[in-house]
Symmetry: C2
Subunit: 204 residues, 2 copies
């Protein structure tokens, strides 16, 4: 489950309040803010390394003051989160943590979460840390650290042969999002056997 | 898009803050609270008609005081939202609005949203109103009220032949959740042509 984070993307959702994402954000070697998220980040006393977006939510004050690090990318086909991922990919950064990707509009939340699967497809290791847990896009058989009783949800993105080891409830080739929710780890780790893509949410 | 609400389910997510869901909640002819959501509802000065759940998040004070309206349903196979829907269905109530179904844990949010599709399958008309918009589970060709520029997202649940009318960007048979997000209505209504199930989110 551990991963070195080369960069953090701070999204336009809710600013984190849980100590875990706040800590990851504080220790990040490189921080890219999605548009208006930079306003929040600066209000909290930090300075981003880069700001990405179409500039429609960034304050005009910060837009002017931080013109040198603001990379305006107008592209109706992708959202700001994906623009930030591509910006980092172009720099050779592949281990990325997204914070502030959920909260506020639910359609954005759904979109941002599902995009993790696309980033994995592109060979990147992109995780999302929220105020409640971690989303880990996964493929084929994978092992995860946990603690006994830790709550785990699995969302299927076309995987077959899904089987759990070290989980309280059996897995199957779920069709609907809710079917793999509310499982839990029975020990210090669990393993998911599958062929194909699925998304794991581990609650703190 | 208009629908008479026979009952509101107040879920265990974030208590609403937007005037639209607050109004629907205030005018509801019948309110079922999911477990601990009753504590919040009572704290806001209301009294639910029923409380459904396994009782693990309801305060012991309210559990005792409201014992006559507390229906304890222990069932590991469903969540509190679905227990509330089934409770209402048993009373013959079919037009249901869910409020407080999102926010807090993202795996619960995803689960609660996707369950709307299952309720539709059971012949119920269940919508979810959040602080940002309305989720409408839909099937085949349907028409929706809107205002010009209103933001719309479409999530595909296996529909084919998806085509929009009165939307700014073309639809297709999306595979990934994000692909149908960030569309918008061009006029006073829009229409989605399809065969099969999809979920529409209309931003306020």
């Amino acid at each position: 489950m551990n991963m070195t984070t080369e960069a953090v993307i701070l999204g336009n959702g809710d600013y984190p309040s849980h100590p875990y994402p706040l800590n990851v954000l504080r220790q990040a070697p490189y921080v890219v803010c999605c548009d208006g998220a930079a306003d929040e980040y600066i209000r909290h006393g930090f300075l981003p390394d880069a700001i990405i977006g179409d500039g429609d939510s960034l304050s005009s004050e910060n837009r002017e003051k931080l013109a040198t690090i603001f990379h305006q990318i107008k592209d109706q086909e992708t959202n700001d989160q994906t623009k930030a991922v591509r910006f980092l990919k172009a720099q050779g950064k592949r281990q990325i943590t997204i914070i502030g990707g959920t909260g506020k509009r639910e359609d954005h939340t759904l979109g941002n979460i599902s995009l993790l699967m696309d980033y994995m497809q592109e060979g990147l290791q992109v995780r999302m840390i929220t105020d409640y847990g971690i989303f880990i896009p996964s493929c084929d058989t994978q092992r995860f650290d946990a603690h006994p009783g830790q709550q785990v949800s699995i969302f299927n993105f076309g995987a077959t042969g899904l089987q759990g080891e070290g989980l309280a409830y059996p897995l199957s080739d779920f069709n609907n999002w809710w079917q793999g929710t509310l499982n839990e780890a029975t020990g210090e780790e669990f393993c998911i056997h599958a062929t194909g893509k699925y998304l794991v949410f581990i609650n703190f």
